[in-house]
């Protein structure tokens, strides 16, 4: 399956009457890792949810490899080969670990097998019959990431995959993302952990109050470190 590219322009999104995204424009070329950074409430999660079709009221254009999906329902978008790891992890309590892993619909056969995923995350294998939400936070995050490796998707939307995790587990998650990148997949990452993201990211977008206010290519990261810190309010 060809790698997917993503292009967003003038995206507006609303929760009921409140207008949250005010014309977001960004590009994720095929095979690249792009990271969105920004303070809490900037609209990062909302951007990912809009791409996934999970925000009902949205306007503008979102194209995935040339196809405009602004009006498509989530299941159509997923079937194009887009996989989503939500910020809140979204582990199902009524499904056990294996069922959680098997839930996302396969789009092709290029994904990992269940065995491979368990090899990558041995913790999950040990807990494979447990109820999904009985896992620890870190295990749940592994599950959330492991879950999208099976489908054969080639565009990954990852929302703060390292949030609140111990360094060892962050490393393990980092390994999984590097693996995706090595396979040439396209990744749109939302990450507060700038050091973690910088290692693998090709370009950074900075969001503030529902807008993209800057784009920093990999090459400029060191040069503009001070500015980045200011953006993030560190």
């Amino acid at each position: 399956m060809a790698e997917l590219s993503l292009s967003i322009s003038d995206l507006h999104a609303f929760y009921g009457d409140s207008h949250v995204l005010h014309g977001v424009t960004l590009d994720v070329p095929a095979g690249e890792v792009v990271t969105i950074v920004g303070r809490n409430g900037a609209g990062k999660t909302t951007t990912l949810r809009s791409i996934m079709g999970m925000i009902e009221k949205r306007t503008g254009s979102i194209t995935i490899s040339g196809q405009n999906v602004i009006a498509s329902p989530p299941e159509k978008i997923a079937r194009l080969g887009v996989a989503y790891v939500p910020e809140e992890r979204g582990i199902y309590a009524t499904l056990d670990v294996t069922e959680n892993l098997m839930l996302p619909r396969k789009v092709n056969d290029s994904g990992m097998t269940l065995e491979k995923i368990y090899e990558l995350f041995p913790n999950l294998h040990a807990r494979r019959n447990s109820q999904g939400t009985r896992l620890s936070g870190g295990e749940q995050q592994m599950l959330a990431i492991g879950r999208v490796l099976r489908t054969g998707a080639s565009l990954f939307l990852l929302d703060e995959p390292t949030e609140g995790l111990a360094p060892v587990i962050v490393q393990q998650i980092g390994k999984a993302i590097e693996l995706m990148k090595a396979q040439g997949h396209t990744i749109l990452l939302v990450e507060q952990n700038f050091r973690f993201a910088a290692k693998i990211t090709d370009r950074h977008y900075v969001m503030e109050r529902g807008r993209v206010i800057d784009m920093i290519p990999r090459a400029d990261v060191e040069k503009r470190a001070g500015q980045i810190q200011q953006y993030l309010g560190i």
Binding site: M52, G53, M54, P73, P74, E75, I77, A78, R79, Y84, P86, G90, Y92, A93, T94, L95, E99, M102, L103, P104, R105, V107, R147, T151
Partner: protein, 289 residues
């Protein structure tokens, strides 16, 4: 009192319990998945029974065809209603779903009464299931044993499908977090239609099974649905297993009450509900939320 009477009423209770279980199970599936209180659940029971009766009287298709086709008819009618009308309610305040199914129930029931009047119409027991077994302490008509058997099989089958198969896994996921489940490529709207169809088909199955015992009439499901409500409240609104177990046991309890305190038989289920609400508001098998 004779054991004859006791066991006779126990059997009646078990039969009623089987119908309660089928209807309550369907109701709980629909409620969990769609967030809709399907007050028309009894109407689909009636549609199932009439489906069997019409197949026999208009098309000459006997009981076995009825048993196969009538639940399908109920399910298809249900899916059509879900697609065209009920699905419009999901984004609204939940009570509109209840009111819509109430309106549908009145419309369907009123139309049937208009064409068929309320007098019960006989629907014969198939020749293969006539007669019965003498168990010594009581006489067990074959057909009644059959009803209990079929109901239990379908209740357990439904439970198995939901708990152990991939369709059931998708259903559970859609119940728990519909939007995220869609983001995993699962066509949840179609699943909701399907779930509604299954829920009402179970009621339809109950209807055909009931035909030979209670005869067929447009008003047959009218008050039944309220009993089903009480059962589901006692069992715990979304609990599949709770609906089945509560349905059966309250049916039996109702039968026993008939033996010991006949006046209270109609009310015993509601009294139980009252008590359960006071003691464990989430229901016996439900989780407080």
């Amino acid at each position: 009192m004779s054991t004859q009477v006791l066991f006779g009423q126990l059997l009646v209770g078990l039969i009623n319990g089987s119908f309660y279980a089928l209807l309550a199970l369907g109701f709980a599936i629909i409620f969990g998945l769609l967030g809709i209180i399907n007050i028309a659940q009894g109407t689909f029971y009636m549609i199932g029974a009439f489906g069997g009766w019409m197949l026999l009287n208009y098309f000459g298709l006997g009981y076995w065809w009825g048993l196969l086709l009538a639940p399908l008819i109920a399910g298809i009618v249900g899916m059509a209603l879900e697609k065209t009308l009920i699905s419009r309610m999901y984004k609204l305040d939940h009570i509109y779903g209840l009111l819509l199914t109430y309106g549908l129930m009145m419309f369907i029931m009123g139309t049937f009464i208009y064409f068929f009047q309320t007098a019960p119409r006989p629907y014969p027991v198939p020749p293969e299931l006539q007669g019965g077994y003498n168990l010594g302490f009581m006489f067990l008509p074959k057909y009644r044993a059959w009803v209990v058997l079929v109901s239990l099989t379908f209740c357990l089958g439904t439970w198995f499908v939901i708990e152990k198969t991939s369709v059931g896994r998708n259903l559970r996921a859609a119940t728990e977090n519909p939007m995220l489940t869609r983001a995993f490529g699962i066509n949840v709207p179609a699943l909701l239609t399907f779930g509604f169809g299954i829920g009402v088909a179970l009621a339809g199955l109950g209807g055909v099974l009931a035909g030979p015992i209670y005869s067929v009439s447009p008003i047959m499901g009218g008050d039944l649905v309220i009993v089903v409500f009480a059962i589901v409240v006692v069992g715990g609104m979304q609990s599949i297993l709770g609906a089945v177990i509560t349905g059966l046991s309250l049916g039996v309890l109702e039968g026993l009450t008939k033996v010991f305190y006949a006046q209270g038989a109609n009310m015993v289920i509601f009294v139980i509900m009252f008590i359960v609400l006071m003691v464990k508001p989430a229901g016996l098998f439900g989780q407080e939320k």
